[in-house]
Symmetry: C2
Subunit: 589 residues, 2 copies
Amino acid sequence: MTMRTEPLRVSLAQINSTVGDISGNAQKIRGYIARARDEGAQLVVFPELALTGYPPEDLLLKTHFVDAAGAALDEIARDCDDIVALVGFPERRDDVYNAAAVLADGGVHAVYRKMFLPNYGVFDENRYFQSGTQSELIELNGIAIGLTICEDIWEPGPPATSEALSGAQVIVNLSASPYHAGKPLEREQMLLQRARDNLAAVVFCNLVGGQDELVFDGQSVVIGPSGEILARAPQFEEALVTCTIDPGQSSALRLRDARHRAAVRRYRERGGEPCPVVARIAIDSEPEQIEGAVAEPLEAEAEIYAALVTGTRDYVEKNGFKRVVLGLSGGIDSALVALIAADALGGVRVTTVVMPSPYSSGETQEDARTIARNLGTQLIEFDIEPLMKGYDAVLAPEFEGQEPDITEENLQARMRGNLVMALSNKFGWLVLTTGNKSEMSVGYATLYGDMAGGFAVLKDVYKGWVYRLVEWRNEREGRELIPASVSERPPSAELRYEQRDDESLPPYDVLDAILLGYIEGDMNAEQLARQGLPPEEVERVIRLVDLAEYKRRQAPPGIRISTRAFGRDRRLPITNHFRDTIRAAAAAS
Amino acid sequence: MTMRTEPLRVSLAQINSTVGDISGNAQKIRGYIARARDEGAQLVVFPELALTGYPPEDLLLKTHFVDAAGAALDEIARDCDDIVALVGFPERRDDVYNAAAVLADGGVHAVYRKMFLPNYGVFDENRYFQSGTQSELIELNGIAIGLTICEDIWEPGPPATSEALSGAQVIVNLSASPYHAGKPLEREQMLLQRARDNLAAVVFCNLVGGQDELVFDGQSVVIGPSGEILARAPQFEEALVTCTIDPGQSSALRLRDARHRAAVRRYRERGGEPCPVVARIAIDSEPEQIEGAVAEPLEAEAEIYAALVTGTRDYVEKNGFKRVVLGLSGGIDSALVALIAADALGGVRVTTVVMPSPYSSGETQEDARTIARNLGTQLIEFDIEPLMKGYDAVLAPEFEGQEPDITEENLQARMRGNLVMALSNKFGWLVLTTGNKSEMSVGYATLYGDMAGGFAVLKDVYKGWVYRLVEWRNEREGRELIPASVSERPPSAELRYEQRDDESLPPYDVLDAILLGYIEGDMNAEQLARQGLPPEEVERVIRLVDLAEYKRRQAPPGIRISTRAFGRDRRLPITNHFRDTIRAAAAAS
């Protein structure tokens, strides 16, 4: 294999596909191919399964769905005569593969099939795909390019290493890498190490946008063989970024790096065959040096906030809603949801509903009105007191002699849920729910009440982070979009007189620490107590989390921003007699 | 290996484990070991993961959970000195395996690890387990016994074949095989063929009972090497069944069957090593011939009905509810749910609530009262008209100039949901919902209204089957538990005057045929139209099914009785632009 040093001009097409919209995605892909050509690219890389959107889930069990994707791919290929496009699609042959098509010379020139299928966390790829068995190279104007898809490059070994040891100067990765807080940085660090370990440039193209509970952050990147960032697409936005890679840099590093030479020797000694070159393509073009744009990554709060805005916007837009509606209590959770909705859609597409009862303080109502005014949302007010009296009257014969309890509190939440849903039904608006992860964890939310709605914006955001995000957003605005009183008031559901959340629960910082260890860390009660968390609270919170599983199962979807979100990411039985107590752990050890 | 002809006395311990209840399950297992010993068994076989219940789902990601199971297993082993027990448990060593422990001589003598991990349909076993790599035999009093777990024996090849070719005269299978209609027969046919193909007795022990959406039917069985049923446990009941197997029968068949001898030769020629014997155990006991009980399988209606009763009873009992409550409309769906609840728990543990509105006919209310009387359920009546007026008044300012529509209909359903939930909250009763699969498919149900509740008994039962089951149950009773008028009246939600379901939907037989093809069969619109189903109805119904995904995501769990239930079995995105139309199919082909 000759080692050419002519530069390669590559575009990252960081697109926002829509699951199932094969023709719409195909049209978008063709548009980006044209733009990449205009920018002078010889190679344009799309995300994993860009053609179907990710994850298509059980649509992949329909032969007609997979075949429709194949037909659309052939159409796209016709556009590729003076440019090479790598497009993620599901390939049906002897079985279905998660594949990357090499589109060139107006046809599907070759196909790479994903070798490592993730089947943990939010992933179910063994349910759908056969795994590929072959590392593959293509040659473009003599430059050897190794192909990988998403999970493939998280593996420190082959296919990336075998491709590099077979001469690949560039490793391409088509990805649909779901976001969680901090993951963009971790992922880029991993890619950077892959580039250095393999002495190859890494071209990583990630999906962007929201799909039900998942959000994809983008941050596609081109990294040189010594770890330098040559181009970086922005987070949470569609983008086309083009830059020039000098493959000669890889060759030069390999000549002077004895470790690489030794590794090639060991690879051959262990019987490693050179990876096959599945396509050799030549494209005439003028050499040209293109400096890639390098977007700055967002800071922690901005990143999470952008994930929430993106997830909300895409759920609303992709499902065709013109407007969202939410109950605004004057508390911090609904305030943050209104803020995110207004940032995602504009205040003019948001309706906020204030629904006071006799337990609602004048202050919280006034704060709610202030927030609506600050964000420019439509404001509707309903007094629920007459409804409360109506239910009391209807239920009186059955409830005679019973003390008021959680029943009456839940009824208030359900009346409010009914009213917001009535607006939704009458006008076609999407209802956003406002519960946060801390509440969803311990079941401090009313099914069919405040949990009633189509999308749960804060479902994966702990209470502590709710405060941080409001503070950060106010600071960014340079004024109090959300009044300080909202953050300073002790949290209360205001379902009875003088109710305070932190009197029935541990303080939110303790609660969040227990939840983080139990939910994200799979720790048991004993381990949490050993960390210094109060043992009785630990046991009580764990018990509440377990008992609330049935509620969460009926919760609307919400945006995943953690390493273990409720939903596809955490699959626990409802019927579950396992009791995690400190005594039990001590007895077992 | 010597081929002994001494008989083997084996017990099937068809138990109902509870997920997560390791100590309770362990106690139950010890009880069955004692009973099997009393019945003279030398070997007692338990279901797959009998110790943890099945499926434990993400509990398996907690090391302390898996370790607790291991500790409990050691306890159980101490009971096994004069009997061998095969107990399903999760084994943690280098990784976690779905395993069968061979308990003998007071200890864990050997472990077999499941080789085929199902990861389709309702199964996610690749998420949790490492696969075993070795077929294994044990020898009990010189009789060679091959070990397999559930999916292993659905494979026509190894481990069962390699074990038989290595001399196993008995193949044991520890199973947790989730029910769907007709599966018990299919499964027994498969096991019978495995016995004949391998000229070995098959000892199959299945789990029984309900776990969230799954129900396990039992019907454990011992089959002789020429396919004769030696013992069969009943369906949907715990049972211990003991019988004698004559391994000499297997040896005799193999001597005179040239195909087996040739297969052994081919196996060796292809380099097949004899499977290792991982335990050799001797148990003193008097030879004794025990005739196994052979329970008769249920007919189709009885089987499905028993599945629904079992699933309902176990959800209620395992989750600790004393009583269930449901809205009784006088329609056939709620009538069937009341019937199932009364059969599962006794009418005295069921509360039925009649909640008429001005649109409710006197006839349906009278039928509801008759049903409550026939079943001996508590009857509560609430008139929702005052609540309807209350909501109208509160919403009037926002709804001015708007025509009444689905909004007002949904509100009625939600008031009823609130009232039933109020009873649930006040008295701790479980709410059963009454929607059937046909309605859940097309979204003819109100979120937070008639969908509000903890368990959806008919979630996987098509409307046509609702009629059949009521008819069958009336016949079995020899009188009209459910009045004929309930079955004969045209279906209506009675949410407005003269509403009839079959005016907005195709007749239920056509609807069910479309749904069956689309949901269970993954057919597209074109294939369904080719079957003679009306093309416009096909397209409309498919569209309705796709659009209702968001509703189903918030539905309570319900009992799976089909090959594709909503829930873990059918994982479709909510945000999904794939449109399956006849035109689209024609264009793609």
